[in-house]
């Protein structure tokens, strides 16, 4: 049987398959043993509770999904009180996704979470397209990214993963900046900007107008971003964006991702992560190649 173990920062993953933040929750534990995943990434948490954006928040398009959730979450205190102990029951790496409206707010959240056991890493979400002050504005400026990650690096020894946006001209600059500041890994990509319009009402199908676009339609965009970034950084990349099956996952790994995350497809087939884990094992056995040798092996 192929060995799928992989190191992401200070974490050892039993396999390279995880879930994209915002597309997974403990509800899935009713359907399968989620300890089988390499890691679980929580929905993004902010210091204070966020009600989220006005509905409608979703629209399905020909080749993907538009969403404008707006980081709805119960806030740090409620998350620790109600959710964290549930996550801690699972025998896998727990990564808490975090957003904030200032460097000090990010710091405050991590300081508090660092006191909690069984959290293995943080995904720093500086790339949400659906919130004004706690999202993409952070992730499009290499200076801010450097200051933010340097600050967080001083606070925590746990693994720091920085989630990057593709909605930028030179993603490599942001990636290098995060790496230099002490990030342990990068995850990319977050959603791209998208829109859909109802031609009867002539209104956008999403209340906010512009939304985040995910699913199969963004896979080529995600893949080339992973490919570009893998060439300029040494830290591992968690690739995501439109992964629907093992073949899609393999493309990301060959492009340079050390691990992959499934997002929208969880909504279509809740067992997809398990299928991909099995599919990767089968591929490695058939191709007689070690997993580490496959990463970035694009010719």
């Amino acid at each position: 049987m192929a060995d799928l173990k992989i190191k992401i920062g200070k974490m050892l993953w039993k396999n390279p398959v995880t879930v994209a933040s915002g597309t997974f929750g403990l509800e899935y534990a009713e359907l399968f043993d989620i300890s089988q995943l390499g890691a679980i990434v929580t929905k993004t948490i902010t210091l204070l509770p966020k009600p989220g954006n006005e509905p409608p928040r979703l629209a399905e398009t020909e080749a993907g999904l538009l969403n404008s959730i707006g980081l709805q979450n119960p806030g740090l205190e409620n998350f620790i009180k109600n959710d964290l102990s549930e996550y801690q029951k699972f025998d896998t790496n727990i990564i808490v996704s975090i957003a904030g409206s200032s460097i000090s707010e990010f710091g405050e959240v991590i300081q508090e979470l660092d006191r909690q056991p069984e959290i293995d890493g943080y995904e720093i979400n500086i790339s949400c397209p659906n919130v004004e002050n706690e999202g993409i504005a952070f992730g499009t400026d290499k200076g801010i990214v450097h200051n933010l990650i340097s600050h967080l690096r001083k606070i925590t020894n746990r693994t720091i993963i920085v989630k990057l946006t593709p909605n930028i001209t030179f993603i490599e600059e942001i990636a290098i900046s995060a790496e230099k500041a002490g990030a342990d890994a990068l995850s990319l990509i977050n959603t791209v900007y998208g829109m859909a319009i109802d031609i009867e009402t002539r209104k956008p199908k999403i209340k906010n107008g512009i939304a985040g676009y995910s699913g199969i339609g963004i896979k080529p965009i995600a893949l080339q971003n992973v490919y570009k970034v893998a060439k300029v950084v040494k830290i591992p990349i968690i690739g995501m964006g439109g992964i629907r099956n093992t073949n899609d996952a393999l493309e990301f790994i060959i492009a340079g991702a050390s691990a992959i995350a499934v997002g929208t497809q969880n909504f279509v087939n809740p067992l997809i992560c398990l299928e991909i884990i099995q599919g990767l094992e089968k591929y490695l056995d058939e191709q007689k190649i070690q997993y580490n040798d496959l990463i970035g092996s694009v010719r």
């Binding site: 509800e27 928040r57 979703l58 929208t264």
Partner: protein, 251 residues
């Protein structure tokens, strides 16, 4: 909640617009509660991407059935499927209706809003309730059964007019304890206004676009007034049934 790939065991074509698909699974049928729903997807089709939510229409002999209206790509794909072909089912999901005992109950449905009620009526009958069932549709094609009081907008069957006109007249002469309603949002809004006049408890089953269907993504939220404050609730997990008076209806 279970996720299974199951063959269609029965397919009943009602008319040009509506059909019923039935699946057989002991575990799934055993978990079903009136007002809950399943998400169905044809695994052979990549588009549409997301599974679609359907109310549990009825449950009997370990079978679960879904009344489906041909409205878009997914439902047209389902209508073309044959007995023996497999569909991916996730469910049962959501909370469903709060059941009552020994009450006078009014059920109001519009169009495909009829879907969850045969299962509910079966349960309510077992609990010795007196049930009045009003159903409305655009034309005779939108009417499903003879054991309800029917309204059609074109008068092609039953009484001519809107079902909401019918229930208003009915409530002027009859007292009921609880109203259960499912149908288009404009109808539910009107039902809420009418129930308010007569001060009757109201449970409405809502439909929205969903991504996860299980409470993870927060995509299907609606606005609810709770303790005087407007909050977002997830239709898939907090609902699909809500207190009609608390729903902030869209204009």
């Amino acid at each position: 909640m279970l996720y299974k790939l199951l063959p269609i065991v029965e397919k009943e074509i009602i008319n040009n617009k509506y059909f019923i698909l039935t699946f057989s699974n002991y575990d799934m049928a055993g978990q079903c509660y009136p007002g809950q729903f399943f998400r169905l997807k044809n695994p052979q089709q990549n588009f549409p991407i997301l599974p679609r939510p359907f109310s549990i229409h009825n449950v009997y002999e370990n079978k679960v059935s879904f009344l489906i209206k041909k409205v878009g790509t997914a439902t047209i794909q389902f209508s073309a499927m044959k007995v023996g072909q497999k569909i991916a089912l996730l469910g049962p999901l959501g909370n469903g209706f709060t059941l009552h005992q020994n009450k006078k109950i009014l059920i109001v449905s519009g169009g495909i809003g009829y879907a969850p009620f045969p299962f509910l009526v079966g349960k309510l009958n077992q609990m010795k309730n007196e049930i009045f069932f009003f159903h409305g549709g655009k034309t005779a094609e939108d009417i499903f059964s003879n054991d309800v009081i029917d309204f059609t907008e074109d008068g092609s069957i039953g009484e001519e007019g809107l079902v909401t006109d019918g229930i208003e007249q009915f409530l002027q002469k009859n007292q009921v304890d609880v109203v259960y309603a499912c149908g288009p949002q404009m109808m539910l809004k009107k039902v809420t206004e009418i129930c308010k006049q007569f001060n009757i408890d109201l449970q409405v089953s809502l439909e929205t676009i969903m991504a996860c269907g299980i409470g993870v993504c927060c995509g299907c939220t609606i606005r609810i007034i709770e303790n005087g404050k407007m909050v977002y609730k997830k239709v898939c997990k907090d609902g699909t049934v809500f207190d009609g008076y608390k729903v902030v209806w869209n204009e």
